[in-house]
């Protein structure tokens, strides 16, 4: 059974249909990339999977380990193991990254029937994770995303991902606004999380990110549908030729 299965998914925003039948299956251990021009529904897809309000699913299914994801509230989906790395991480003034991480981690642990993490254990864990990601430990003392540079915000997303150890991680345009060094740090973080029981859905506009996070499958999302699928070479082809032919074909 696929880890995450998206079946004929239709979704609209304010009455306008954006996703027009997306079908996709992520097996455990796989990395799938979704590419496509702006406005074809890439972010809609990630938001619908994560359960953001304002999107109406009119048809289709999303299953995590066979469980109906669409029947769950957003926080339940997160605790079930769906993680969304945001394109624009949100500032939470006055809340330290550390406090935020701890609250999130404990929410997950409680849901799993585990004991809440104690302060010492938590500090040790964060230290280990920040070191592994090459991040300054002091970052966790700052208010989450407040005054963070673009690179710091994305690194904070990856730190959260490594702390929460999701089943399925969705990276929504994680490469946007990153210079090459930041891109490398973030990619290294993601790659270190690749595991046989975890899957990734990497949404990106550019092929560049896929030099660092090498996908098993590449899909083209155009006009609300998967217009083509292939291996990692498909990304290179798209880079060279653009999306025009898929847009025309789909239209």
């Amino acid at each position: 059974m696929a880890l995450l299965e998206i079946k004929n998914l239709h979704a609209s925003v304010a009455g306008k249909e954006i996703l027009k039948g997306v079908t996709l299956a992520l097996e455990p251990g796989e990395v799938h990339a979704i590419m496509g021009p702006n406005g074809t529904g890439k972010s809609t897809l990630s938001n619908v999977i994560a359960g953001r309000e304002g999107y109406e699913v009119t048809k289709g299914q999303v299953l995590l380990d066979g469980e109906d994801v669409l029947a769950m509230a957003a926080d339940e989906r997160a605790r079930a193991g769906i993680f969304l790395a945001f394109q624009y991480p949100v500032e939470i003034p006055g809340v330290t990254t550390s406090a935020f991480l701890k609250t999130a981690l404990n929410a997950k642990r409680r849901a799993a029937g585990e004991k809440e993490i104690d302060a010492m254990e938590f500090m040790k864990l964060v230290k280990k994770k920040t070191e592994a990601l090459g991040m300054p430990y002091d970052m966790i003392k700052r208010a989450l995303n407040v005054g963070f540079s673009g690179g710091e915000k994305k690194r904070a997303e990856v730190l959260q991902m490594t702390m929460l150890e999701p089943r399925v991680a969705i990276l929504d345009e994680t490469d946007s606004g990153l210079d090459i060094d930041a891109l490398r740090v973030v990619s290294d973080g993601v790659n270190s999380l690749r595991a046989p029981d975890r899957a990734f859905l990497v949404i990106t506009h550019y092929q560049r990110l896929l030099d660092y996070i090498v996908p098993d499958h590449v899909h083209v999302l155009a006009n609300g549908r998967i217009a083509a699928s292939g291996g990692k070479e498909l990304a290179l082809e798209l880079e060279a030729e653009g999306y025009a032919k898929y847009l025309n074909a789909a239209a």
Binding site: D75, R77, E116
Partner: protein, 482 residues
Amino acid sequence: MAANQETAAAVKNVEQYKYGFVTDIESDMAPKGLSEDIVRFISAKKGEPEWMLEWRLKAYRYWLTLADEEPTWAKLIYPKIDYQASYYYAAPKQKLASMDEVDPKLLETYKKLGIPLAEQAILAGVAVDAVFDSVSVATTYKKKLEEMGVIFKPISEAVHSHPELVKKYLGSVVPYTDNFYATLNCAVFTDGSFVYIPKGLRCPMELSTYFRINEKNTGQFERTLIVADEGSYVSYLEGCTAPQRDENQLHAAVVELIALDDAEIKYSTVQNWYPGDADGRGGIYNFVTKRGACRGKNSKIMWTQVETGSAITWKYPSCILQGDNSVGEFYSVAITNNRQQADTGTKMIHLGANTRSKIISKGISAGHADNTYRGLVRIGAKADKSRNYTQCDSLLIGDKCGAHTVPYIESRNPSAVTEHEATTSKISDDQLFYCLQRGMTQEEAVSLIVNGFCKEVLQTLPMEFAVEAQKLVSISLEGSVG
């Protein structure tokens, strides 16, 4: 942030106001209503000296002339209060000498409130002067404090044991003519705390009082007087909870602080009176006059308040900065939910040279509540080079509540500098979704975001209070989203 998670767990169990219970202790009550006889009755009950009674009567007679001067300028809507429909005196019957003699029912009440009196005193190093209804029933750590020369006792006792101090300072910051509610308090106050810190002493423990309204229809008129002599320091904590009932209850306390040369007073409050139900029925009317006088040079007074309860809050803890180089600070978190209304802020009156004041106010509104910051910064003609910094932030949850900021600045000295910053924001859907996507529940998310918003104020509280305050913030906002 462990407190946040604890809160979230607690919140789930809390369907109604957590402290909504009534302890059944037979009360020794004065007849209903207010008259000169009642004032005399209260004074007689306390066995007060003649001068105290005279002061009360003076206040009462003055109050009668104020009949038409009940303040109406605050942004508060409530039915006219019938002052003859209230009881002005209720006290537990037994007079107690020690903790051992405290009525077990009373101790049970404290337990429900999460205040294991004796244990807390020992564990936290907090001396607790517990006010139950109007009479202090227990005072712990008295001896240790006494040895250091600290006087910390019910004001009704201080009237007898230290009449010279009480006479000198009572009404010296908030005179009996001050305002409608303060005047009423002067006439009928039943008890409260008296604190005196001797010269040069840094009081090594936080002094704390827990107030509790218990008797039905009993107006609460607490009176607190704190004097910090030259070069001394004291931190005083006040916390409140009240049982649930339908009638509105009047609470008109007066707190006076006096800091002499080089003295510092830190006064922290967590106010959690019963706020009324979701439709605005019941709840405490809280009309409080709190004022501190930085009478000496280089003195400092710092108010921190976390106001989460009461149906109506009318409260402006203020500083009169009389001594040169004196400092006044006001840190406030005011949370209103459902139909609660709060009109709260501060006054910083700069009289001496080089006086400095700082105001940090965080107002949070949810449900149908209204929350007003009202503040006055006045710089007198002689307050050369004085400075004020004011920051007022409002946070709205939902679209049916209101936040209002009414700052007054009056400067009569061109060398003074005043700064005012204000923001109003909402908890955004983006912030909420972000937290939910990390697995937090709505309640945890709101609690986290709001606690972040209030952090600057909460971190000025003493440690054990800060934890309690964080929990209160969350409980107060229960059900405000989704």
